[in-house]
Structure formats: C-alpha cells, structure tokens
Symmetry: D2
Subunit: 195 residues, 4 copies
C-alpha cells in the first residue's frame, strides 16, 4: 500500500487568485530535485486541524479531509503541506489552510507559534506513530478555529465535520493516513476534549 | 504601600444586563467571610492579556488596564478575577473580560484550557515574582484576542493599547501591580513576541 | 455510587518523618470547616502522573494508583491533593508525590509551572469530563518522571506501572475515579505517546 | 558583520567515541551540496538551553556557550544543530547536547516533544527576531536540565552558567548570536523565571 504524502501533489499551484510564492526562484524545486532532497534531509511541514468553536472558545467540531486517491480508495487526512524557503510558519499555515479549505474559511491562526504537537514521519514504520513512505518529514501541528465556509478547491477533496467523540473513535483513526489518527487525538487532548 | 488585589472590588456586580451568577446561594460570600477564607485557602483566579492580532494571528498590540486608585495613584493591571463556585474557567474568563472590557470586546477565548503561565501571588514578597497583600491567590493566565471595541464599564478604569516592545519595557513593568510586569512579559514570550 | 475525592483522606498527616506543613495555624481547616468551604469555593488541587523514562527522556511506563476503598471496591487514581494556604505549587506537588509514592521515589519536578492540562471537577456530571461529589475542584496536572523506588506509605494504596498502550485502554479508563481516564490520556498526548 | 550559524562547523564530526550517524550514506551532504540546499529549503534545527535545577525542579542557572570566532571575537550562543535525515528529534537533541557539553553532562531530555518556542531564522533581518546569514532555519527550542559536568569538547567553546536575572539582562542579550537573547528570555518565561 502506498501511504499518501502529507501535502497534496504540488506544494504550490500558482493561479490568478494567488500571490506569488516567496523567493520563487531559488526555493522552487523540480520533481526530481524534491525527490532527491526528500531522501537526504528531514522536510519541514505544518499541519492544521480546523475546528469550530462555541461562544466560549470550546471546540465543538473538527474538520477532517476526505480524499479520493487515484486508485479510488478514500482516505482521511489533515490540512498539511511543506514550508517553503523564505516563508514564515504563519504564511505556510495560512497558505495551506486556504489551499485545502478555500478562500472563505477565515481561519483564526493561533497567537502562539508553539504547536500542540510535533509529528515525526519516517518512511519506515515503528520509529514513531507516523509514516510517510516518500520522506522523513517533521510536522508542526496546530489547532485552528475557522469561522467561515470551508470549500476545498481540489476536486478530489471533501471536508467532514465531526464531534470530538467521533474524531477520537477507532473507526476514524483507522481511516487516517500515515498515523494521523494519533495526531487528531492529541489535538483533542490539547483542547481538553479527549475523553 | 498597599498592593491592589487582582480583582476589582466585588467579584460580581449584578445588574440589568447580567445573567445571574452561578450557584449564587451557596457560593456567595460576604466580605467578612471572604476576608476570612482568603487567609486560609489559596484562591483561584483567572487573568487575561487582551491582544489585537493581524490577519495571520500575530499579536500587534496588548491591552493593559489603567486604574485610578482611591488615593489618586494610577496603576496598571490585567483583566483578572476570582473563579466562583460552580463556574467553569471559561465562564469565569468570559465574565471578567466582559466586566473589564465591556460587552462589545468580542473576545476569542482560547480553544485550549492550558494557561500560558500560572502566577502564584503571596501576601509576602520574595516567594515568587507576584504579591497580593490580601491573599494567597493562584492565577491561570491566558492571552485572549479581542476583535471588537473595548470600553471598560467601571469609571476608574481605562484600557491602554501597547506594542509588544512597549509592553516589555521597564517603564511599563514598574507601573504594573503586584509584579504583573513579569506576567506581561511571559505573555509576550508565549506568543513569540518577546525581544 | 460515591465518587472518591482527589485527595486521600486527610490532606496532611503529620508524622515523625514529615516537616511541618506551611502556615499551619491559619491554613488548617477542621473537617467541618473544609466541608463547608468545599461548597462555596473552587478548591485548588495538583495532580501528577508519575512516569518512567528511557535514556532519551521518552516515557516508557506510567504509574497509576490502585486503592482499596472502605467498601472493598478497588479503584484507580492519580497522585493528587490540595494546595494549602501559603504553599507553592512545587511544594504541594512534591508533598503529594512523597505522600503517595514514598520518600524514595526521587521525582524530577518539571522546570515549567505550566500544567499539561487543567481538570475541572464538579459535583454534578456533564459539565466537564471530571466529577468529584464532594466539591468543585480545579486541578493542575503534571507528568513527573521518577527515578527511584515507589512505595506508597498508605496501606490501602498500591502503584501499578503500565505501558502507554495499557494506560490509554478502555479497561483502565473505566476503573479510574472521577473521569481521570481522560486525564491519563491527555498526559499521554502531552508526551507524544498517545496512539 | 558575519552572523554565525546555529551549528558549529560540521554537523557531524566522527570520532572514536562516537557512534555512527544515522543513515550516513544518503543523508550525508558535502559542503557544496549543503550550501546549495540551504538556499532552497528551510533547514530543521534543534536548540537547547541547558539548565541546573534545585530539588523542586526550579531553574537556578542557565548555561550559555561562549565561542571564540576565527576573527578572535567572542560571541554567546546556545546548544544547537541540524536534525539529520532519519534521526529523531530526541536523537538530535541528545547528540548536540553531547557534542557541545561533553559526554558527562547527563541531560534529562524532556518527556514532551513540544518545544517551548519555535525560532525562525532568516538570512535577512526584520522578518523575525532571529537571523542566520547562511540559511533559512527553523529551530525547535527546549530547556534541558543537566545533572553532570559540562565540558565542551571543542577548543573554542566554553560554557558560562548564569542566574535567571543575568541571562535576561541586556548585556547578555547583546552578546548572543543571531537574536538568541530573545530565545533565552523565552526559555526563562517558559519556566516561570522571567522577571
């Protein structure tokens, strides 16, 4: 089985509505270069668990992405992607939230740069709870309240909203790519919502 | 010198626009009872540093309260107050934010219940950085973005907005009650804005 | 069913090997006074999850207390107890660790005063995940590595060491008092060991 | 002025007392390759503030490295270095602590993988508080108690122990490389020791 990578295909899809990526010239990597670098350096990622909160800030729903893979298989994942050269973590977080949730999600990025957890993905299983067959990736994971409408721009992507109880279930964990069920539970724990 | 207490005069001021406090009957304490209990138990407080953030969640301004004391002296403090019997931390946080910033501040309470720091106030100085001559208080401190208009309802209270640099300055620290300059700097550190 | 209180019987049991409690005179409460106060104020607690770590600091085992109740029923709980008047959180944490694990446990108290979670216990269920029929308690919870030998001094107490997987199991959660299975899972999440 | 890089010269100096680095073949980078990659990808680092704690876990001293640069200039820095391909964060943290503090430092690595702050270093100043003229580096920073003897193995390196008050001073901040005075203060804040 091929474990999907944390970032949907290209890290950067230029388009009419996008601002230019930072430092495009030197930071841009061809597929071949990226594949090479992925076997030589840990690659820095951000991941986000979008949530809806009530009037007192308490998490009532979590957003999990549902993705159709080329094989037709459906898997669940989180908002995630690479941090580019010259890009701040906040910029990367905002860019990937917009890429995966659409421009009307209105995410409230955290004031603190400290992630709720750091997930280490290795090609081989057993080192940590997380695997990514393409690479050694280290991912800073954040819980991000969204107040607008989430509408994934990629055809093969849908967002499912779950209660904390559903999100922590074995059934959902089993469908999450690369061990991210564990990360979702840690997100719940970080907001005091893990039972 | 008389060090002010973390909570402005009464912990609860009933009024036409207020909902009833939780568990009023058994949790209500007369002044004499409260004064007695304050010398026998640590009292639980919440404190909040209201902040304004930019579109990427980065803190650009911090709100510090300026208070005229009965003696005419001006001191600076944070949003703070007691947690009442039967009240959740979120409820207490919301209640004291509304009490000190008015009903139009629209605070975004944190999704996580974990404070950025825990401040321990003792009547005698030297045990920690924090003192409160009235009591032994333990305060859970949070950074809270506000998106609306802050308009303290108490006559003797004003809010001053400062940049991170000003908030960390010696001058501001020296004016903060009970050692809260230290807490303000820790708030800045927690959001990655302490230089 | 009677839900046990977070602290084993008396908060302070003077004995030949103990130093005197801080501020004994004014902070000491008779049973009647304590029972009264418990219905009028939230009471501040600390809780600790003792752990064993490997050479790289990774948690390999967690210690859970097994207690025989007067009814003969066995329940599981965590190290916990009240913070006394005049006592710092560190002192309270150390005192309760020694009380529940014995004097040879050699706990490594955390450098940071920030708890991994804050548990709110209410007499009535449904407000949070945690209940304590005696009182409204707010508990600051810490993970504490121990390097020595744990030997509970109270007759009715034993310590059981579990792997992270066991500690997160439904079976263990069901045996934990007052909803502390949830707190144990949050402790695991905070150390990156929740699957 | 040339700002020093977070890691002392080579990231890995094989020697008789060292175990082999992980995945040496594919993860090893020549100087030319590393210089190239440093302009194309953010590079993942760990940083550590070694501390001495008292019996209750409270930080009493912080260790800052003093380095003679080839120009004869002295600068201060923290324990830091690159995370290699295939290496866990804990392994990297342990390796760099041993490299900079010697094999008898006996560091107590944190149970939690969550850093106290994430420092973003850019070649150009002004984006964050941190600069590194060689690269865009993202550094996960930890406070690490050490219980043994610190004896830097590199000739040009010394360790200075400071009280929290000294470590937070303007004088020390001014001597720290790449803006790390700010990181040192955030470390102090994270352990409740920033005044």
């Amino acid at each position: 089985m091929s474990v999907r990578t944390p970032d949907p295909d290209p890290d950067w899809t230029p388009g009419p509505e996008n601002i230019q990526p930072p430092n495009q010239n030197q930071g841009w990597l061809s597929d071949v270069e990226l594949a090479d670098i992925r076997r030589r350096l840990p690659i820095l990622y951000i991941e986000a668990v979008p949530v809806r909160v009530d009037g007192l800030g308490q998490v009532v729903e979590l957003g999990v992405l549902l993705r159709a893979r080329p094989t037709g298989e459906m898997t669940r994942t989180l908002v995630s992607g690479r941090v580019l050269y010259g890009e701040t973590l906040r910029d990367a977080l905002f860019r990937h939230l917009e890429k995966d949730l659409g421009p009307m999600a209105f995410p409230q990025l955290p004031a603190s740069p400290v992630p709720f957890s750091v997930a280490e993905y290795f090609p081989l299983p057993g080192i940590t709870a997380f695997t990514d067959e393409r690479q050694h990736a280290v991912s800073l994971a954040y819980v991000v309240p969204v107040t607008g409408t989430c509408d994934p721009r990629q055809d093969a992507l849908e967002i499912t909203w779950m209660t904390p109880l559903e999100a922590a279930s074995e059934a959902v964990s089993a469908e999450m790519e690369g061990g991210r069920g564990s990360l979702l539970r840690m997100a719940l724990a970080s907001v005091g919502q893990l039972r």
